[in-house]
Symmetry: C2
Subunit: 245 residues, 2 copies
DNA sequence: CTTATACTGCACTCACGGGTCCAGATTGAT
DNA sequence: ATCAATCTGGACCCGTGAGTGCAGTATAAG
């Protein structure tokens, strides 16, 4: 496994590892800049400081280069996002500032050029390489939403958020953060002023807390069922959180 | 204006109008199916039941065909969306059902194959034709958000929603509706079960109303009911299933 | 130092598709 | 019926880029 993200069992061990890494990095840069079809393999080779046949010594074809580049980028993005979400582990901190910090971090990652490029590439390759979607989704939205859902479930159990469906709440918070940014930035083609970004974060956190902040009026027995649901879902997902061997 | 959406002042009046319309429709179909680069002009001509030179008699080049196709699709989508939002004009109807109806309609339009195709094409052409983004944004999100903001502002003034920033609230409602659908459908590459769609709508309306309803909700009943329905609908959500390397 | 493996630069083949030209058939208008 | 504009089918030119082959060179291991 190691760094061989693409389905290139044949070419996985071939060649020098530093060249391979250079090619993958360069490929994402070039694909992000020009799109898959407009980016020629020669462009990628130039960007990587490598000869074209070297590219074909590491990958069977252009598609495999794309898969490797996208997979690597998705992995990086996932790590960044998970690191941000983990900040919610400190359940002692005041809720609203903590949530705001996490929201700011998530929004910075989701609004980063790399994330936008990944989205764009994934969209444009929907028809050509449907498997890319699953790679990206699994490592980006799906996984992040899961991690966030876990944190929210804990906060709910701790009585700091009202009883909720963790996955749904996480999905909504992410939606409130990412969709407005996506549209303000013209799908990632122009930067969003820092002030606007902050306003979106504030609005998202505000709306989220209004909808999910713990309410004292509710009687305990009415909350029992959803609480049990929450607990079950939490227990269900607690295990795969760790890194695989 | 009129039917000449593209910047083809020269070719705008050339040729027979029915052929032109057939070409535009076919172009969107083919572009949606195969993507811009993979779709050949011959494919478009075949789909339209027309000879290739006829295409070039109506449009100067392939780019212009794309622009016309995208513009037409965006216009159609805008009309559908606006019609849905206008349902909120009846300020006498009970708020929550009305909002739910509008949300359902918006989500159907935003989740339609045509809308997904439009998003995909726009994303993939970000670098080649940046002007497409503005065309699509102006006729889709921007305009719909504006119309929705108008309605929400009226509802707020009428005391049926709390005081709010209209544009922001509209943006958030759209986010709650569209982002989850986009992700559940794998960016539009697979249909979303009707039950899930309905659950997303319910959750979005619920969250929106919790955040923006002007005063008293909520007996514990109202809190718990939507939770149970969505929990049932989400019961089959994808399992974590170990992450592959 | 030797050797195997990988990288380089270049030239090459080949398929594909954008865009054009032309001769002949069709069509709408007068 | 006649004419002009348009459509049709097919052939055609040409640029581009994926992928390969080869001869020579750098490089890590023994």
């Amino acid at each position: 496994m190691s760094a061989n993200g693409a389905g290139t069992a044949d070419h996985g061990s071939r060649g020098r590892i530093d060249k391979r890494r250079a090619i993958v990095d360069a490929a994402f840069t070039v694909f992000a800049r020009a799109g898959y079809e407009q980016a020629s393999v020669q462009d990628i080779a130039d960007e990587a400081g490598v000869a074209k046949p070297t590219v074909y010594n590491h990958f069977p074809d252009k598609d495999a280069v794309l898969t490797a580049a996208v997979t690597a980028a998705a992995r990086t993005l996932l790590a960044e996002n998970l690191a941000v979400v983990e900040q919610l582990r400190e359940t002692d901190a005041p809720l609203e500032p903590a949530l705001r910090a996490v929201a700011t971090g998530l929004q910075q990652v989701c609004g980063s050029p790399r994330a936008h490029a990944l989205r764009r590439i994934t969209y444009s390759q929907l028809n050509r390489q449907p498997e890319l979607i699953d790679i990206v989704q699994a490592r980006t939205w799906g996984r992040v939403a899961q991690a966030l859902a876990d944190r929210l479930a804990c906060l709910s159990l701790a009585g700091r958020l009202r009883p909720l469906e963790p996955a749904q709440a996480a999905e909504q918070l992410l939606a409130l953060l990412s969709a407005p940014i996506e549209n303000r930035s013209r799908l990632g083609s122009r930067p969003v002023p820092a002030g606007e970004s902050a306003a979106i974060v504030d609005a998202a956190v505000d709306t989220f807390l209004r909808a999910y902040h713990h309410v004292e009026l509710t009687s305990a027995d009415e909350l029992a069922a959803p609480l049990r649901t929450t607990a079950a879902a939490l227990a269900d997902r607690r295990r795969p959180e760790g890194v695989q061997a």
